[in-house]
C-alpha cells in the first residue's frame, strides 16, 4: 500500500517557523506546537508541525513502513512510538482527503 498526496491540496512550508522548529529540536525543546506548513483543501486549512510536515512530504508513493524508516533517520524517536504516531496521522490525513492510498 502506497500513500500519495492529493494533488488538489495547496500547500507550502513556512520557512521561518521551520527554522525555529529545527533549532528547538537541536536544543531539546518541545516543538509540537510550532506549525511549519499550511495545507488548504476544500475550504479547510490545516497547519502541520515539523513531524507532520515531514510525513506529508514523504507521501509521494512510499509505504507507511518506508515513511517510518525515513523518519527514524531524521528524528530521535522510538520506532514503535513513531509507527503509532505516524499511523494515526496518516489515517487522519486520509479521512480529511489530504492523502490517498494505492
Amino acid at each position: 500500500m502506497k500513500i500519495f498526496r492529493n494533488p488538489d491540496v495547496m500547500w507550502r512550508e513556512e520557512d521561518e517557523f521551520r527554522e525555529q522548529a529545527y533549532k528547538g529540536l537541536d536544543t531539546g525543546e518541545d516543538v509540537a506546537e510550532i506549525g511549519t506548513s499550511i495545507l488548504l483543501h476544500s475550504g479547510k486549512m490545516h497547519s502541520l508541525n515539523v513531524l507532520g510536515t515531514e510525513i506529508w512530504k514523504l507521501c509521494d508513493g512510499k509505504t507507511p513502513q518506508e515513511i517510518v524508516s525515513t523518519l527514524r533517520e531524521m528524528f530521535d524517536v522510538d520506532e514503535e512510538v513513531l509507527r503509532k504516531d505516524a499511523g494515526e496521522f496518516l489515517q487522519n490525513m486520509k479521512e480529511e482527503g489530504l492523502v490517498y492510498e494505492e
Binding site: 495547496m10 507550502r12 513556512e14 520557512d15 521561518e16 517557523f17 506546537e33 510550532i34 506549525g35 499550511i38 488548504l40 475550504g43 479547510k44 486549512m45 490545516h46 497547519s47 502541520l48 508541525n49 507532520g52 487522519n92
Partner: protein
C-alpha cells in the same frame, strides 16, 4: 494538526484588476477609487512577487474584471505561475464563448453576484435591467465550460426575507457555493447604510436561519464569513485564525498596485510596484494592529471574544473609527 499561526505571507490575494464597471450598484465600494491600472508588464512583476511569497490563490475583482481587455492573458500568466485563479464578476459579459476562453485561460472558479431570486429586485439593486437573467445564463455557461461556480449575495434590506429563495436559486443553478456577504459600510455602502443595512437583531435572525440552512441543505456549500457568528456556532477548526481573516490570511490589491488589508479598509500599507509583499506583510503597523486587537466595551466581558475578536474589522473601523470597538452588527447586549 496545529491551528495557531499567522503565515509568513497571505494565502489568498484579492486583486481589483480594474475599477471600470458596467454596473451601478447601490452598495459599490470601488466606484470612487482610482481608475489607474497597472500595465500588463507591471502586472507580471506583481504576479512574480506573489509567486515568490508562495501565495496560493489570486482572486480577481474590481470593478468588473472582464472589462480589462487583457484579463485572459493575466489569468494565463497567473495559472502558469501555479496560482489557483478565480474571479468575482457580475456575469453580464459572459456568454458561451467567453466562458470557454476563461476556462482555457486557467480560471478554476468564478463567482457571480446575484442578490435576489427576484429579477426585478436584483436588477434595481445592481442598476442594470436584465442583469439577473444574464447572471444566471453566465452560471450555466461557466458550468458547461467546466468552471466551478458560486453565487455571491450581499445580505441587506432587499433580500433579508428571501434567504431561502436565494438558496433555492443556488441549488437550481447548480453552483457549488453560495457566499452570503455581510453588508459593508464602505463607499456607497456607507452613504446608503440607513436604507440597506440591517439592525443587529435582524443580523442575528438572518444568521440563525442561514446556519439552519447550512446544516440542512445538501449539495451546496453555504459560506458565512462573519466573525460575529461565533456566538451561534460551535468552534470550528476550518481556519487557522480567529476573527477577521483580512491581514491574517488574505490581502487586497487595488488596481494601481496599492495594498490594503481588505477591499473595505481604505488604508494603503504599501504598493506592489515597489514594495516586497512578504516585507509589507511582516512589518505593516496596520496589520500588526489588526492581528493584535484589544477588547473594548461589551467585548471585554463577552465569552465569545477569543473566537470573534470584535467582529469585522472593516465594518467596525468604518462605523466607529476604532477597530478595537465592538462590531456595530453585534446583537449581544452588555451584561
Amino acid at each position: 494538526m496545529k491551528n495557531d499561526l499567522i503565515p509568513s505571507s497571505p494565502l489568498t490575494v484579492n486583486w481589483a484588476i480594474t475599477n471600470i464597471c458596467n454596473f451601478a450598484c447601490s452598495h459599490c465600494y470601488s466606484r470612487s477609487d482610482t481608475t489607474e491600472e497597472l500595465s500588463i508588464d507591471t502586472v507580471g512583476v506583481v504576479l512574480d512577487k506573489l509567486a515568490k511569497a508562495k501565495v496560493f490563490s489570486v482572486n480577481f475583482g474590481g470593478g468588473e474584471p472582464l472589462l480589462r481587455k487583457d484579463l485572459l492573458e493575466i489569468a494565463r500568466r497567473s495559472a502558469d505561475l501555479g496560482f489557483a485563479v478565480s474571479m468575482n464578476s457580475n456575469g453580464f459579459l459572459i456568454d458561451r464563448d467567453i466562458a470557454r476562453k476563461l476556462k482555457v485561460a486557467g480560471f478554476s472558479k468564478v463567482g457571480i453576484s446575484i442578490d435576489s431570486p427576484k429579477p426585478g429586485v436584483h436588477d434595481k439593486f445592481r442598476g442594470i435591467k436584465g442583469s439577473h437573467e444574464k447572471a444566471l445564463s453566465a452560471l450555466a455557461y461557466l458550468k458547461e465550460a467546466g468552471i466551478e461556480t458560486s453565487i455571491s449575495s450581499v445580505i441587506c434590506k432587499i433580500n433579508i426575507d428571501d434567504v431561502d429563495g436565494l438558496v433555492e436559486m443556488a441549488l437550481s443553478s447548480g453552483v457549488t457555493n453560495i457566499n452570503f456577504h455581510n453588508f459593508k459600510c464602505s463607499g456607497l455602502g456607507l452613504a446608503n447604510k440607513d436604507i440597506l443595512d440591517l439592525t443587529p437583531e435582524e443580523w442575528r435572525d438572518f444568521y440563525i436561519r442561514a446556519i439552519e440552512l447550512k446544516k440542512s441543505v445538501k449539495n451546496l456549500r453555504i459560506s458565512l464569513e462573519d466573525p460575529i457568528i461565533s456566538q451561534l456556532v460551535e468552534k470550528s477548526n476550518d481556519t487557522l485564525v480567529k476573527g477577521s481573516v483580512c491581514g491574517k490570511l488574505s490581502l487586497n490589491i487595488k488596481s494601481n498596485g496599492d495594498i490594503t488589508p481588505c477591499g473595505f479598509i481604505p488604508m494603503v500599507i504599501g504598493n506592489l510596484r515597489t514594495d516586497d509583499l512578504a516585507d509589507v506583510w511582516k512589518n505593516s503597523t496596520v496589520l500588526e494592529m489588526m492581528r493584535g486587537k484589544t477588547a473594548k466595551g461589551k467585548c471585554i466581558s463577552c465569552d465569545h471574544y477569543s473566537d470573534c475578536l470584535g467582529g469585522c474589522t472593516a465594518r467596525t473601523l468604518a462605523l466607529t473609527g476604532d477597530m478595537n470597538n465592538p462590531d456595530p452588527h453585534c446583537w449581544r447586549h452588555d451584561s
